[in-house]
Symmetry: C2
Subunit: 266 residues, 2 copies
């Protein structure tokens, strides 16, 4: 799925919700089981319960990679369970020298068929360009939502923080329709500043839901004419209930967010 | 293996050579085969032919990840083929928010048993700390050797390039013995500057061999009392010959580098 198809999906579903499949064996409901292989059934039930409400699904590779080959198998099978009317994100945060990034691109765009991947900008242009060659969407880390952002992302150079340099430089690497940026900002001033630099790009916003951001603020200061937002919620949805009703509970949480999003989309 | 054991190995073998197992199906000798599964036999032969000359092996995960679960299986089996008297590096360049980095750490330090992993510093302290909890070595990207370094790593903040901020900040996160830095510098002035900031840390230096750095310069300006260097060569060794003699040719190339290194170690 490309970004103009994503825009259509967002309008149809009245939702810019991204469900993060951060599934964990230790948090699986007892009714599902507690083995690594049970993750697949859990993901299947979550996807079935939420896919009409979600514009996108994000699979963080770390959650699967920790289980080695078995985890990678489940990652791939989970991707195949996601219906075609949802945008898919490999949250992999990869990045290496050019010929090596080509192989990561092959992993996520050929061996698996994700619509997009998150990448780390530290190594610069040639670490990102191989991902762009597939014509799919590349989602670049700009301003993340964790405590460590202060270490480097806010370092000022020529009067601008590093994350702003990333936004300005990376927009030169590809058309707007092929890039997105991870923006963990839920603060109005940061979002306004970011929108002044990249008015047209999609932003992938983590940190709404259990991580605590405000959907109202994000919508007010982050939305553009294309919507331009994918707001992620992981634990708040998928682990909404530890009981047998986990899928219904997940749907209810997703529905709450979707309804709120529909208001903001007017 | 910890860093003091690595120092002993370097003295014993008179070598600070790191062999990069950047194995590729399309470059396998015909005598080995041309299927993904043949990578394992190739790696086995390369390791057998070079392990007495190598202080370390570096496995770049991208080369295996591109083949999905089969590739991950080969990655793990390759690691198990490396003898105990070699330091092992997962060249994975991972990094995510804290709880997610914990899972990457589990992937490479528990599911597999690497001695070290390369990580990207962009997301700051909490993206690195979970890797440090294993007491193993964490190798942080500082100054890489690719063209894209100019985009962000050389941006100046408070009169210092970003990579220098990474060096200075990251050294506060753990003891010297638990950190290393990727330093792609083969230029004397950069190496001298880096050594003035981190005199005692080990540096992992890519880009000697087919990528073209000078071992003499690196040794002259990068070596410290512990040696403090792991110099990587990948293609120059493992693909030294496309013929049946690939393992002998690999050994010969490794031997050349080891002999040169022995001179520098005096």
């Amino acid at each position: 799925m490309n970004q103009s198809q994503l825009e259509n999906i967002i309008r149809e579903k009245q939702s810019f919700l991204c469900v993060g499949l951060d599934s964990r064996v230790d948090l699986l409901p007892a009714s599902v089981g507690n083995r690594v292989e049970d993750l697949l059934e859990f993901n299947k039930k979550i996807i079935e319960a939420t896919s009409d409400l979600a514009a996108a699904y994000k699979i963080n590779t770390a959650f699967y990679e920790q289980y080695g080959t078995e985890g990678w198998g489940i990652l791939k099978e989970t991707l195949e369970l996601i219906p075609d009317d949802c945008f898919t994100i490999a949250d992999a945060k990869r990045g290496d020298i050019g010929n090596t990034s080509s192989m990561y691109a092959r992993a996520f765009f050929e061996n698996m068929s994700f619509d997009s991947i998150t990448v780390s900008p530290y190594m610069g242009s040639d670490s990102i360009k191989p991902f762009l060659e597939y014509g799919k969407t590349v989602i670049i880390l700009a301003l993340t939502s964790n405590a460590g952002t202060v270490d480097f992302q806010h370092l000022e150079s020529s009067g601008k923080p590093l994350y702003q340099h990333v936004l300005e430089t990376a927009t030169g690497w590809a058309d707007t329709d092929q890039l997105m940026f991870v923006v963990g900002a839920t603060r109005a001033d940061h979002l306004q500043k970011i929108r002044s630099i990249i008015p047209d790009h999609f932003l992938l916003v983590p940190g709404v839901g259990k991580q605590g951001g405000s959907l109202t603020e994000v919508s007010k200061y982050g939305m553009n004419e294309r919507c331009g937002l994918l707001v992620n919620s992981s634990r708040g949805i998928i682990f909404a209930s530890p009981g047998e009703d986990f899928a219904t509970a997940a749907r209810n949480e997703a529905l709450k967010l979707q309804k709120e999003m529909a208001q903001h989309l007017i």
